[in-house]
Symmetry: C2
Subunit: 360 residues, 2 copies
């Protein structure tokens, strides 16, 4: 039954996906006498972790129970006190842990703290699945930068637009809805100034019930963004930040007055240093980025090896023409191609979504 | 139960896929007293149709039985006598027909002949599925040319080769095996002289048990093919034909001596008239063509609106570079894109196969 309850804890965790960053979204289930007595999932940053939610819900049914939790309970003071203390105090007898916390301050120490209090601990359940479930968090802890997802919408022949520049609508409504769902699950949606200017895109999450809104980040080296753009106009309603390199005080002031955050990063007047961009986002505790970049900026991310996951939507059409995606990111020979692993495919009505992880 | 037995007849038909062209591969099931007493599938061209195979197998159990047959029984003398006569003579009481034969000499007349003999007939079962199952046959009867399948093997970013011209192996072994399976199900595998020269391709069906071998057809306007090529060398073992426009008597003779069929068609020294190519193949009763053409010849088929089905294999890699498929087949605007309908997707290990039908 341990595997059954752990699967349940993983499903419970999904309720918090995109809603508790920068904390990992964890699920906890408390079982006593063969019965599920409580479930808990991580609350928004600064509020209760999954374990605490479950313990509070179970009340005195915690005594002698087993807790299933998808990631190792914390043993440190962050925004909240250590979960291990609460577990010990509640009288839980046994704790089954999915994966260890990759955070070196916790990793293994949470389990140790429980064991030292006489609690029986087991761990290592569904390691692969939970590692993928929490990939944004785990990656950012390990590599000290946000996890980057490259999204692209292509015709079946790999064109991101027709030769006249038109690209509405290569994707169907089901694909577009899927994109909005992903936007609601990441910390940042990132685009370059050129695509914002070209599409007058909003980049927020729309058409969903109670969607979390990502921070919209625009790379705009010389601060060329139009004050009349939808993105600027919507800054009071949906958070937005512009990363720039050089700009006039007037423009900076005007944008700040509209409610935008501004931040200067290394680069030149034409492009920003993408590693500096990542460092700035990481410093702000933003651990996942969805790239909704045009072709040139996409190529720059690939060249900088800053793509951790691909999400390619194929519309059911042939476009032809020269607007072939990533054409300047030339791998020269098949032997030097970027391989993708853990390929998954999803049919979205007559569109296809292929996801995979590049080995860069 | 009618639907159940018709599904069975459709499955029985699959045994003859690729093995009885130019006849459609049909399945028949005879049921008597609630029991399946015989099955039959179309035999190679000139031999028994499915109905006759089943009637012979059932023997005197035909009396008072019901026959399920995926396509209307023929009522004309072709290479064999009319199936309707045999059904009437066998004493079959009821015939359930999937779809009508699109051949105007038969269409509806087979059913009429049975009804006039007092047999109860029903038809119109799984019309969509059987129409797709027999798409090569039905298309070629309706449009008086072979059904053309465009096959392509691409990276996820839509490149058919790396920029240095290398393309081995964009597809994985599972994809390549699938291609060999398709080759064994079509009448013709077609390529241009350039890709034969570049890859020294054999184009036969390999790695399968008892594979039907397609006719290999090479479009070679000036008869440039090397006598030393694998394709020429294998002509005694696997049928091969070269379509050309202008050539020396010596070269024609040399190739004929090696066992190749040759046929002159309209065109010029650089390219053949693709409509003339189709007409030549249709005249030879070849009703399905798998295009294994390079990019330029593929574009010519698209421009001539001679693509009836797409079969695109995506390897799990990003290649970049300028070798973007169909780039000269420019649709200019998204509104003019070629839409594909009836999209299907199949995972072949870490490769993806997408199929669909272009609306040209």
């Amino acid at each position: 039954m341990d595997r059954y309850y752990m699967k349940l804890a993983m499903r419970v965790a999904e309720r918090s996906r995109g809603k508790c960053s920068p904390n990992p979204f964890v699920g906890a289930v408390i079982v006593n006498g063969g019965k599920i007595v409580a479930e808990g999932n991580t609350q928004p940053y600064g509020s209760d972790h999954a374990e605490i939610v479950a313990i509070k819900a179970a009340g005195n049914k915690c005594k002698g129970s087993t807790m299933y939790v998808s990631m190792e309970p914390c043993c440190i003071y962050g925004k909240t006190p250590p979960c291990t203390d609460a577990i010990i105090k509640a009288g839980i007898k046994r704790v089954v842990v999915g994966i260890m916390d990759p955070n070196p301050l916790v990793s293994g120490n949470g389990i140790k703290a429980l064991q030292e209090a006489g609690i029986q601990v087991e761990h290592g359940f569904f390691a692969e699945e939970i590692t993928e479930q929490l990939e944004y968090y785990i990656f950012s802890v390990q590599y000290r930068r946000p996890f980057v997802i490259w999204k692209s919408a292509l015709s079946l022949d790999g064109k991101y637009s027709a030769s006249d520049g038109s690209s509405k609508w290569i994707s169907n409504p089901a694909s577009r809805k899927h994109v909005h769902r992903v936007r609601a699950q990441v910390d940042v949606v990132l685009a370059g100034i050129k695509s914002v200017a070209h599409d007058d895109a909003m980049l927020n999450a729309r058409g969903l019930r109670s969607a979390n809104q990502p921070l919209r980040v625009i790379l705009d080296p010389s601060l060329d963004i139009a004050l009349s753009s939808k993105l600027v106009a919507s800054a009071e309603d949906f958070p937005a930040m512009i990363l720039y390199h050089l700009a006039s005080e007037d423009k900076i002031k005007a944008l700040q007055d509209k409610g935008l955050q501004l931040r200067q990063v290394a680069g030149n007047k034409d492009e920003l240093d993408l590693k500096a961009v990542m460092a700035a986002l990481y410093e702000m505790k933003l651990n996942s980025v969805l790239l909704e970049t045009g072709n040139r900026l996409s190529e720059a991310f690939w060249k900088a090896k800053l793509v951790d996951k691909c999400m390619i939507f194929y519309g059911n059409m042939i476009l032809g023409g020269e607007k072939s995606v990533l054409r300047h990111y030339d791998r020269h020979n098949v032997d030097r191609a970027v391989q993708l692993e853990r390929i998954k495919v999803k049919k979205l009505q007559d569109n296809i979504l292929i996801t995979g992880y590049p080995l860069l």
